[in-house]
Symmetry: C2
Subunit: 226 residues, 2 copies
């Protein structure tokens, strides 16, 4: 499903360079549930952004379902994302002057879904994350964990086959976290591949495979298939 | 040090109102270390913002070190905050086109500290949160946990007597969290009052008192002194 080879992502910084990823190789088969852990700054979000086609590697090779990502232009990447991927950002990235339900409906706009169905699916997704009574609120009228759950609902609304989630329970209490992980488990049971970055050992424990990053490299991978 | 009586914070929303806080009373003595927990949306950030004089209650009474907050105008509140308070925001609120060290130095600008000393203290604060080698980066060039640590360094740089921290380890791995809590413990040993909102039981365990919020009210308080 996802195959990365020697992925490097560097940034120029002053006189030198920061190697956010310094050579990462991995293969994630269909239907896997992977947790990516590692200390702050170790490269987890950088890796997830590459897997989600939100960024391009400085060097190295990435293929998603056999599609060589380097061969796609930005429009091609956007179509690939919209059709298959759901992405929960570490910093949510909700539209600020837009209600929760319009935020959740947005991926369905790009997918060409008609408005009545979009709103119905957005409301259902918000209900599943416990926010039915917050659907008209703007992000600034929501708590941190409520904003996170809107971002999660938005990632789930297209029923993605590849769910990429960057610290999806970081702003949630443990009971709400469990409810969110149950939603991911439902999606996973229906055949989705789930890749989560997390600092929470309880969240990592629900994955069937754990990948640990350190200094932009894979320090350990307890399920690697090469 | 901090005394709140019947604090209410409501918002108009459509036809009705949201009562983010529905009547909270508490007294936090000098030198206390309090953890505020509760589920997502229970009112924790709202309460912390009131205690930090970043917001005013809809009704009720708040006094900080004997100062009736209602008697202060916005300039008076700003002075009170700058002189005594350190605040770590749940969403960091760093200036985006500003380096880490300039962000950390900002409270010292308001305090009238000269530039060479500001930068020296900002660099020392960044060093203490493990980010000496990231001081010239902009927030967009930092990981989520690095941004959180810049926000923490900024809150500590004035050596506040009242530290208010909203989920200060939410984006951090457990080892980095421990390092941050050790910094808070240093400040606390020097006499500061520490009030932390947290979802992490390990973080709450380091406090000497736990206040649980539910639906905008105090559900339990294991150290209340009225
Ligand atoms: N401007 C606003 N307008 C309407 N409702 C609001 C507004 N700001 C906050 N709320 C509501 O007030 C309640 C309390 O919000 P608060 O941010 O204090 O929660 P919290 O306990 O910090 O949650 P979390 O753990 O998710 O950060 C939430 O239900 C939220 O939707
Ligand atoms: N635009 C950039 N320019 C320079 N350095 C960057 C840039 N973006 C990220 N970095 C650096 O790359 C490294 C990896 O960042 P990344 O966001 O992937 O970390 P992370 O593992 O997700 O950390 P966290 O757990 O704190 O979210 C960090 O040290 C960060 O400072
Ligand atoms: Mg990250
Ligand atoms: Mg909050």
């Amino acid at each position: 499903a996802v195959r990365g080879e020697d992925l490097v992502r560097s940034y120029a910084q002053g006189e030198g360079a920061v190697h956010a990823l310094a050579g990462v190789s991995m293969r994630i088969p269909h239907g896997a549930w992977v947790a990516i852990t590692g200390s702050s700054g170790s490269g987890k979000s950088t890796l997830l952004n590459l897997l989600g086609c939100l960024d391009r590697p400085t060097s190295g090779h990435l293929a998603i379902d056999g599609n060589d990502v380097a061969a796609l232009d930005d429009a091609g990447l956007a179509r690939l994302r919209n059709r298959h991927l759901g992405f929960v950002f570490q910093q949510f990235h909700l539209l600020s002057r837009t209600s929760a339900e319009e935020n959740v409906a947005l991926p369905l706009v790009y997918a060409g879904v008609a408005r009545p169905e979009r709103l119905a699916r957005a409301r259902e997704a918000l209900d599943r994350v416990g926010l039915a009574d917050r659907r008209t609120h703007w992000p600034s009228q929501l708590s941190g964990g409520q904003q996170q759950r809107v971002a999660i609902a938005r990632a789930l609304v297209t029923r993605p086959t590849l769910l990429l989630a960057d610290e999806p329970t970081g702003a949630l209490d443990s009971r709400t976290s469990e409810e969110i992980l149950d939603l991911f488990a439902d999606l996973h049971r229906q055949g989705a591949t789930v890749v989560m970055v997390t600092h929470d050992p309880a969240v990592a424990a629900r994955a069937s495979r754990r990948l640990v990053l350190a200094d932009g490299r894979i320090a350990s991978d307890d399920g690697s298939l090469s």
